[in-house]
């Protein structure tokens, strides 16, 4: 789909297709990109590696014309260019697949693609979609509605949409964060085919193993600067991580679990989805013992949101016995009453759910805590609240100006440490954590995982729901998989493999009726 490099006036294949020089972008309070240089060669898969907040996404948005840099130049095949908006970027041959998809659920695949692709005759579009998707092994039915598709299939729509525009540089932003291990392998095959045809691929990730198996070159970013360039195939994960975080990767200490009595029991829980694109939970049963960590793996959108709301009490369940907390039937109890029984909960969304963005950390410490030292006779003890916040900040190494700092002024990782600290500070008997390290940098992630393990060792029942399979394998004692609103029986992590979990993540999803979609997505 690409003209051979020699057929037009473009320079020889060894010359960079895309050259960035001195790209600088400043946001209020943060230098997101600081004089970044980056070369992308034809036919290469080039990793841009960095922690969250290192400036990867900003840099990609500069290339795609979404963000205007404050300084720096962009050259395209030797010629200095100015990319004013994504339409211009696409015209040049730059395509981007975003981490968060931009598809309309109620439209079909072809309709969604037609919205973005203007230069194909609408009547011919379904045929073109089928042609491109078959060529790259991305099975897609143009007539299918997007809301019936899994996340992996939706990503294919995004990729095919890009490929129809015949890109010469394809940017993939954290593409595997929503995929099963098997789907990741298929994606990699597609990307290798593309690269072999001459397309350059910019692959944004913080997953070191993927980058080592896929990419030819890697540029490492840290705090907005380029800190290294390497051939990831010749590096170890440890050495890449060192470049990425500027230090050694801490490893959590892990002892054999000494499980006690059941603390959280879920018995045949059914929850009907309350929005048309939600997931209905069917007969979920689960048993978390004191002193163990149980993990729930699964691709997002398979019922995690609904299960968490039912467990936390944000949504109450008519049948009280469906959820038992430390022996008490808790289905009908609200979040406050469940907290009183010893439940603590770290939600997936930090700003706006786990914390009030505009409020100070002190006020946010008060959000879920009603102990005597904070509230007496209905009145707030300002002194006690500040002291509590200061203690969380000190214990968990939260980087903040103090208890008066607004929650929204903290980075994602620091705010997450604060929320985890606050919830652990309630001395819970059961702790539920959703995506505890999502979007959190490596250092803080390790700290949070360690905190969860310490909690387990102190006899707390811990339930972790995460999409990061590696994380679950690392910290959990038992692991279950949620797929299409059903939960598999938990297995000891020593008796299972990532492959088996991956099969469960995908395999429980039946092929959609009349469509010939493959089972593995």
């Amino acid at each position: 789909m690409l003209p051979p490099a020699s057929s037009d006036a473009s320079p020889p294949a060894s010359a960079p297709r895309l050259e960035l020089r001195g790209i600088t972008k400043r946001y209020p309070g943060v230098l997101a990109n600081d004089r970044i240089d980056l070369d992308v060669l034809p036919s290469e898969i080039h990793a841009v590696l960095g922690e969250n907040g290192a400036g990867k996404s900003t840099l990609m948005k500069v290339i795609y014309g979404i963000v205007k840099p404050d300084a720096g130049t962009i050259r395209w095949e030797g010629e200095q260019i100015h990319i004013a908006n994504p339409a211009q970027a696409r015209k040049r041959g730059i395509g981007m697949v975003f981490q968060h998809f931009s598809l309309f659920d109620t439209l079909t695949v072809a309709e969604n693609i037609r919205l973005a692709v203007n230069d194909v005759e609408p009547k011919l579009l379904p045929a073109r979609i089928t042609e491109v998707s078959e060529r790259y092994g991305l099975a897609l039915d143009p007539a299918r509605h997007v809301h019936t598709m899994s996340v992996g299939e939706r990503q294919r729509v995004e990729i095919v949409r890009c490929l129809l525009q015949e890109p010469r540089v394809l940017i993939m932003d954290e593409p595997t964060s929503v995929l099963t291990p098997q789907a990741v392998l298929r994606l990699f095959e597609t990307l290798r085919t593309l690269a072999a045809e001459g397309c350059s691929i910019l692959y944004i990730s913080h997953k070191l193993d993927e980058i080592r198996s896929l990419c030819d070159r890697a540029t490492v970013l840290r705090a907005g600067r380029v800190t290294g360039q390497c051939d990831p195939r010749r590096e170890s994960s440890a050495s890449l991580a060192k470049m990425m975080i500027g230090g050694e990767l801490p490893h959590p200490r892990h002892r054999e679990a000494r499980a006690g009595p059941s603390a959280l029991v879920v018995d045949a829980l059914d929850v009907r989805a309350d929005d048309p694109f939600g997931t209905t939970l069917r007969a979920i049963s689960l048993d978390v013992h004191a002193g163990e960590i149980v993990g729930i793996a699964g691709v997002s959108g398979n019922g995690q949101k609904e299960l968490l709301a039912a467990l936390s009490g944000e949504r109450t369940i008519r049948r009280a016995e469906a959820i038992r907390l430390c022996g008490t039937a808790a289905g009908r109890l609200g979040a406050f009453a469940r907290r009183a029984l010893g439940l603590a909960f770290v939600p997936e969304e930090r700003l706006g759910r786990g914390a009030v963005p505009e409020m100070s950390l002190a006020d946010n410490a008060l959000l879920t805590t009603r102990t005597e030292d904070l509230v007496a006779h209905g009145f707030i003890r300002a002194h006690g609240v500040r002291a509590r916040a200061a203690k969380i900040i000190a214990t968990y190494g939260v980087k903040a100006t103090g208890p008066e700092a607004a929650a929204r002024s903290l980075s994602g990782g620091n705010l997450q440490k604060f929320i985890v600290g606050r919830e652990i500070g309630q001395q819970p008997k059961v702790l539920i954590a959703a995506q505890p390290t999502w979007g959190v940098d490596v250092g803080a992630s390790a700290q949070i995982r360690q905190a969860l393990i310490d909690l387990r060792d102190n006899g707390v029942a811990v339930l972790v729901i995460s999409e990061e399979l590696d994380e679950l394998m690392e910290i959990c004692d038992r692991l279950a998989v949620i797929a299409q609103g059903r939960l598999s029986a938990p297995k000891s992590v020593h008796e299972t493999t990532a492959e088996e979990i991956g099969m469960l993540m995908a395999g429980a999803r039946p092929a959609a009726g009349q469509h010939s979609a493959p089972v593995l997505v």
Binding site: A71, T73, E314, F345, G352, P357, L366, G378, I380, R408
Partner: protein, 360 residues
């Protein structure tokens, strides 16, 4: 070149409080232009509008008198507004409060209750009636998820018509020459004066007590905190287990109670009887007062003085300058509008972007 609004990471406390001051100054500038356009000497006009009304002891007393209902209502409304409960119907709740409290005065007026019993009874009746009227939108919202902005506003007109029917019909003063008004309240149903030879009465002290209680509730009480959380981040409130239903009820009832008290204060204060209209739009002006005062009880106390001055100035401008009464509304409107504009600058920074080197 491009203009860009950039969110500030954390707006400065100083700017938050300077916003209303800047909006007030800008309102004055607009007033200057308006006076100029009417062919009035702006200095004379400003003098007539803002200085003359408060240049006498009586004038100051009038300022506080008119600030009283604004302060009470805005304080009550702000409790709901902080929790995203939008009670727009304080005017109706004020009317119901005046109707109920005044009705009590009319029915037991001849029974010679001592004022120390009758007046508190009137205030309690008025507050309960205001709460009942505000309770209707609260119930509709919690039961049917009906938008309380619409329902509370619509009930204003129902309340006004109800009072109008009473003073035109059953409650009309038989010796009132057929004017649509009730009998005058007896002395034991009138609020005692605070300053001799003025109309300022003890209702003002009640307003100050309400402000103090509201401050205590919002800043120190856990329920006030929970309502703030609900207003700022509904998902966080849900996560923490804060009941949205309770917040709606509390927010609506607080506004209704305060508006009801204000209604009694008007009926038993400067008016002294029931008329078809018990307020020159205090219930609506209080919405502006609540926002100019940053939904903060102390800010509201100050903002109510400012709004009161606009009322007095409007009257004075009509009398001394022959300006239309719409000037008052114009000032109120520009104040709210400019305050909202100032808020944009408090929360965002305006950046002027020139072409970057990369754009060469």
């Amino acid at each position: 070149m491009r203009l860009l609004f950039e969110a500030r990471p954390q707006p400065s406390q100083l700017a938050v409080w300077l916003g209303p001051v800047c909006a007030t100054l800008a309102t004055l500038v607009i007033g200057f232009i308006v006076f100029e356009a009417f062919g009035k000497n702006p200095i004379t006009a400003f003098n007539a509008f803002f200085v003359q009304p408060v240049s006498t002891r009586y004038g100051v007393a009038e300022l506080l008198l008119k600030a009283t209902p604004l302060m009470m209502i805005a304080t009550g409304l702000a409790i709901g507004y902080r929790a995203n409960v939008w009670n727009i119907g304080a005017e109706g709740q004020l009317t119901l409060g005046a109707l109920a409290g005044g009705g009590l005065a009319l029915f037991v007026g001849d029974a010679d209750w001592p004022a120390a019993i009758l007046l508190p009874a009137m205030f309690i009746t008025g507050a309960v009636a205001g709460m009942a009227w505000a309770g209707i939108p609260a119930w509709l919202r919690t039961r049917f998820n009906a938008n309380e902005i619409l329902t509370s506003l619509m009930l204003v007109y129902v309340a006004t018509l109800l009072l109008s029917w009473l003073v035109h019909g059953p409650w009309r003063d038989p010796e009132g020459y057929n004017f649509p008004q009730s009998k005058l309240f007896t002395d034991n149903a009138l609020l005692p004066n605070l300053v001799p030879d003025t109309r300022l009465n003890v209702g003002f002290l009640l307003a100050l007590v309400i402000v103090a209680l509201a401050w205590l509730f919002v800043r120190r009480h856990i329920v006030g905190f929970e309502m703030r959380v609900a207003g700022l981040a509904p998902a966080a409130a849900n996560y923490a287990g804060i009941s949205a239903r309770r917040n709606i009820w509390l927010g609506m009832l607080a506004g209704g109670a305060c508006a009801g008290l204000a209604g009694v204060g008007e009926a038993a204060g400067p008016i002294g009887q029931l008329l078809p209209s018990m307020s020159p739009g205090y219930g609506f002006a209080a919405i502006i007062v609540a926002f100019v005062g940053r939904l903060h009880p102390l800010g509201i106390a100050l903002a109510s003085m400012l709004m009161s001055l606009l009322y007095l100035g409007g009257e004075s401008a009509q009398m001394n300058l022959a300006l239309p009464s719409a000037v008052t509304g114009l000032f109120q409107g520009s104040l709210l509008f400019l305050l909202l504009a100032a808020d944009v600058f408090v929360n965002y920074r305006l950046r002027i972007l020139r072409a970057t080197p990369a754009a060469a």
